[in-house]
Symmetry: C2
Subunit: 372 residues, 2 copies
């Protein structure tokens, strides 16, 4: 028999009997997708069919139950998207169902090489010790390559460790990908030469399906310090494929664009920790961007900390990655964020810095505040 992994679902149900019926339905839906009476005896029934392993009232007091279902590694076929499909393919369409946790198995861990660098690698590349990392973004879309490169220069000179593209920057005529990549890597290099720092430029490579891998390689050849991808747009196997590619060695930053519906409803999708933590780490993201609590999005402090915890918890020996909360970050929030996240975090701050009259000075003040 092959090894099995588990998925724990929150199942909305009025009572134990309804919860059990719904859980058995998930076990069927996610694997064989035929009526129970039509499931072939032997291998399909004994191995492939999902198995209800545990059912208990929701400990958080929501109106339902936690159902843990195990699935065979044989069902995955060494395919990461098929793993996601088993976890939540058709069942994503059923209301009152949420993926709470995933219990990994050896074969799953083998399938996903996991993060190549993790938080330790990102710090080493930036030449820093155990302090927090800082990242900013060049923006907005519509600025020229020269203007964006100037921003990249100033962010680097001001002490930001990673300077990324805004996630809306692709290949617009105002700042084409090739030109922007080259100009920004050079600008960050110039700033490093002046400051003695080791800042890195991280281009957004989310783009046409046939161009993403090519742009990743181009970024590497050009001297970028990482790449950014929005997996909910580009597809969930792209990060895994890049992280496992022996010819690609850069860190990968994931961006949450288009992913919101996967977490924000209490009635469907995933728990925050599982989606942004477990899944992104399994894919091989080294840093995971998500909206911080108290900003202009609705995540709670507890949800954000659950993501950060999932980035670092023991996961079959895979490297810890770094939570990169952003969205509405300001100077005034540094103490609160330090309290919440400690040192193992990447501060992502953009808009607030761009409002300051002197960008380099503003960055220096932020770095000082974070390191205080």
């Amino acid at each position: 028999m092959a090894k099995r992994f588990t998925v724990t679902y929150f199942v909305r149900a009025a009572d134990q009997a309804e919860a059990k019926a719904r859980a058995l339905d998930i076990a069927l839906e996610q694997t064989v997708e035929i009526p129970r009476s039509a499931v072939p005896k032997g291998y399909v029934e004994d191995e492939i069919l999902g198995r209800l392993e545990n059912l208990q009232k929701d400990p958080e007091g929501r109106p339902g139950y936690l159902a843990t279902i195990s699935y065979s590694e044989d069902d995955i076929g060494e395919d990461f998207l098929q793993f996601l499909n088993i976890v939540f393919g058709n069942s994503s369409i059923k209301p009152g169902l949420k993926v709470e946790d995933i219990g990994l198995s050896p074969g799953l861990l083998d399938l996903c090489a996991g993060p190549r660098h993790g938080i330790a690698g990102l710090r080493a590349r930036a030449g820093i010790g155990d302090e927090p990392l800082l990242m900013s973004a060049i923006k907005p879309v519509g600025l020229s390559t020269i203007a964006l490169a100037r921003l990249a220069h100033d962010f680097a000179l001001g002490g930001m460790n990673y300077i990324k593209d805004d996630h809306g920057l692709v290949d617009q005529k105002t700042a084409p990908f090739d030109e922007r990549l080259k100009a920004c890597v050079e600008a960050v290099g110039e700033a490093n030469a002046k400051s003695g720092g080791r800042a890195s430029f991280v281009p957004n490579i989310t783009g046409p399906a046939t161009a993403i891998i090519e742009r990743a390689m181009q970024a590497q050849e050009c001297g970028a310090g990482g790449v950014m991808i929005a997996p909910a747009l580009a597809g969930y196997d792209v990060v895994r494929a890049l992280a496992a590619d022996p010819d690609f060695t850069l860190p990968i930053v994931s961006h949450p664009a288009f992913s919101g519906a996967n977490v924000i409803s209490p009635d469907c999708g995933f728990s925050h920790r599982t989606f942004y933590g477990t899944l992104h780490r399994l894919m091989g993201a080294d840093a995971v961007i998500y909206p911080n609590f108290g900003g202009r999005f609705g995540f709670t402090r507890e949800e954000c900390l659950s993501i950060a915890a999932a980035c670092a918890v023991n996961m079959g020996g895979r490297k810890a990655i770094v939570a990169a909360p952003g969205g509405g970050m300001t100077f005034g929030r540094v103490p609160e964020m330090r309290d919440a996240y400690g040192n193992d975090v990447m501060y992502l701050i953009g808009g607030a810095l761009l409002q300051e009259p002197n960008l380099v000075d503003a960055c220096r003040r932020l770095v000082a505040a974070v390191h205080a």
Copy 2:
């Protein structure tokens, strides 16, 4: 000035003032993503920044407003994922916000070649006139290639027009992709030779990021009659790229696996018609699978019919595609479905047929019922 396209959002809000503030926030968030006071004058403010074009109380009586925002084609950079990012990238993470409709522009239509075949092409390939199309799926995962090919044969002999892989079939050791593709194309060909029919086999090519295009080409060379992709897993540009590839000529069937959270909550995501209709047609899917009303999923009759309508409505001259409702389809539901959908539909039925003692006979009875 470039042309502009529009997105109409449902915005949960207590009053007009709150709705307007939220709408202006979306216009900012989805384009420049910096505070309003930091938006550069000139091109960025005049062209790139989203513009609130209309705001009205929700006509359906939900607690909020419909806000129509226009965005510049310049912001897209001829990149389909950036289009989706503008429509709903970061805003997907804001609760109480739903994409209701998208108003296309000429540049968007140029970017997306749209469906190559549409419903007319699928009927022509199947050699039928204006009647409904029929599709079934070989399953479950865990059966051998021989057993799956036998099912494909029997479905074809029984008169199904398209026989697809179950969406969980990838490259499992029990039925590897190459072997299954070849065996099923041959089995369907044998059945066609016996019946004089023109059934097609449609493999699932959702899989590793680096293998999808390759599998599509392999399917074409091998004589398949289409390919199936789950865009919510594989990435939303894969279908578009394949539909626009001059070397690829097969129809594309989209599968809704992992997409549920994008539609099922009233509080986030997309309207059913926009997600499964407009977006999938724009991408270039020729048939779009979604869960039918009254089956084991929660879509309403009205939601399902809105998808079917969006598959056929005038869309800049793009071909009409076919709605393929499935999930819990049974013989008894044929009259109800005929009433609802008329002839421009693809009946997707799997599990109910597999429960029948004689699969070929069961298919024939279904075909007769659908054509009655």
